[in-house]
Symmetry: C2
Subunit: 259 residues, 2 copies
DNA sequence: TGGAGGGTTGACGCAGCGTCAAGGTCAAGC
DNA sequence: GCTTGACCTTGACGCTGCGTCAACCCTCCA
């Protein structure tokens, strides 16, 4: 007759595990000796070893009982199901591992490489870190909403950075948001350039975003994000309204531009 | 301003998850509106999306907070650690999968193929299912104790099944344990054959098990298992003692054989 | 004005044990 | 006979990342 620790040691498990199996009814409680100790027969060792064989193969404890009693075909079906689940789990972990490899590869926020390139171009142009950080957060939101589309858009966006007007706009915005003053003249200048760019885009039909434009929320969020980052953005939004444009992340011509 | 369900939907998580992140301090609690509802800013969306990026990469929630604040090298070290853990987990699951493939491959108890072959040979020889089941359980115990050695032993064990004496022994044992009588004459016959086989093995020096013989417990267990399966085995053990042998799974010559 | 569809906190449940806590028991050495 | 240390007992909380009630309040629309 064995004590619980001898039984556990033979099967290579802990005493706690054995008691757990008793609790969930997987291993029957043995007789107790005079002092209340559990005393195990050799058969219990076989039972426990068989339980561990299945458990080590990834079978959930809750199914082991049935599997030990099942006939061959039921058993085979269960085995197949377990294998499928293991496969799924492995696939999930491997997906995680690819994700984390991306994180390790340098871009700490798992943005698509095209976006990283775009942000680097902004820095090259002389855009301030604060504004770049704002852009980055914006693209995080965009990537969350349209994970696949973003990569298609980036080449176009990056090409636009060759436009001297756009460069000038970004530099003015950098100056505004790096300073602590409410420099209205600069804001007006920025609004003028932005309105001009919007006008060009509008005339060239470039402004069409397809079904993406149907979904207002992300663009509202982007504008709100910018205002949160710096309240002076609200002034800019107002200035754009005066010029007949609504929004910032996505500019929409107001129905009736004020005269 | 967003409600909790809008926030959750944008990040592709459940409302419950968002509340959970608040509880563990991962996402700061936002202001409440007049009726006590949580109201989220656009910045909260960015925070939540960033949390999910790390979580999807397999980073435990408890570490995400630190990682979002960490500098580049700390971040890289953490990423490496997570990747290692993911790798370990994948390896464990793949080991399970190999195990379960063995189970699916036919032997329902993950015994080595050599053991399965041995058990099949017993059946061919005419050994009863009950005795084969006993043998199987014995080999489960042996495999648990010496997982690697068992495969080495089986060829020898299987070869022994060519010995007509051993075949006869197994057949007699099968008859005994299939019947309901306490057929002592049969038991005596079995004991005589067993003693004779033991004597041969002893003289040929075959009985040496090396360091395996140092460990009594498994052999005691095997004998106990047999007695549990059928109390008549106890009679057999007694008969063997009379013939100067102790045990059954491992026969040991008694210091002073009775006269 | 009533009902559907939001929101709130609080609490249990899940898997498989690890890990105290607060004792009772056993075997061995003095 | 007594102490000591190792082993046994039950009971209960902890861990991970939420899912899922329960019981109740708030908002919006027909």
């Amino acid at each position: 007759m064995l004590t619980i620790s001898q039984l556990a040691a033979y099967a290579g498990v802990t005493v706690r595990a054995v008691r757990h199996y008793h609790q969930i009814g997987l291993l029957p409680e043995p007789e107790r000796d005079a002092s209340g100790y559990r005393r195990y027969s050799a058969g219990a060792v076989v039972s426990l070893v068989r339980i561990r064989i299945l458990a080590n193969a990834g079978v959930p404890l809750s199914q082991i009982g049935q599997m030990l009693e099942a006939d061959a075909s039921t058993f085979a079906a269960a085995v197949e199901e377990i294998d499928r689940q293991l496969g799924d789990e492995i696939a999930r972990l491997e997906a995680s591992r690819r994700q984390i490899a991306q994180l390790a590869a340098g871009d700490r926020l798992a943005l698509a490489p095209e976006v990283i390139t775009y942000l680097d171009r902004l820095r090259d142009i002389g855009v301030s870190e604060r504004v770049v950080a704002g852009e980055r957060d914006s693209w995080i939101l965009m990537s969350a909403r349209w994970p696949d589309r973003v990569r298609e858009w980036m080449p176009g966006k990056t090409a636009q950075l060759d436009d001297p007007q756009l460069i000038r706009l970004y530099r003015i915005l950098s100056e505004i948001f790096e300073s602590d003053t409410g420099d209205d003249a600069r804001l007006v200048e920025a609004a003028d350039i932005l309105a001009s760019l919007a006008e060009q885009a509008y005339r060239s039909g470039e402004i069409d975003l397809g079904e993406v434009a149907q979904d207002d929320l992300p663009f509202d969020l982007l504008d709100a994000l910018a205002v949160e980052a710096d309240p002076r953005v609200q002034r800019l939004l107002n200035l754009m309204r005066e010029r007949g444009w609504d929004g910032l992340a996505r500019l929409e011509r107001l129905a009736e531009p004020p005269t």
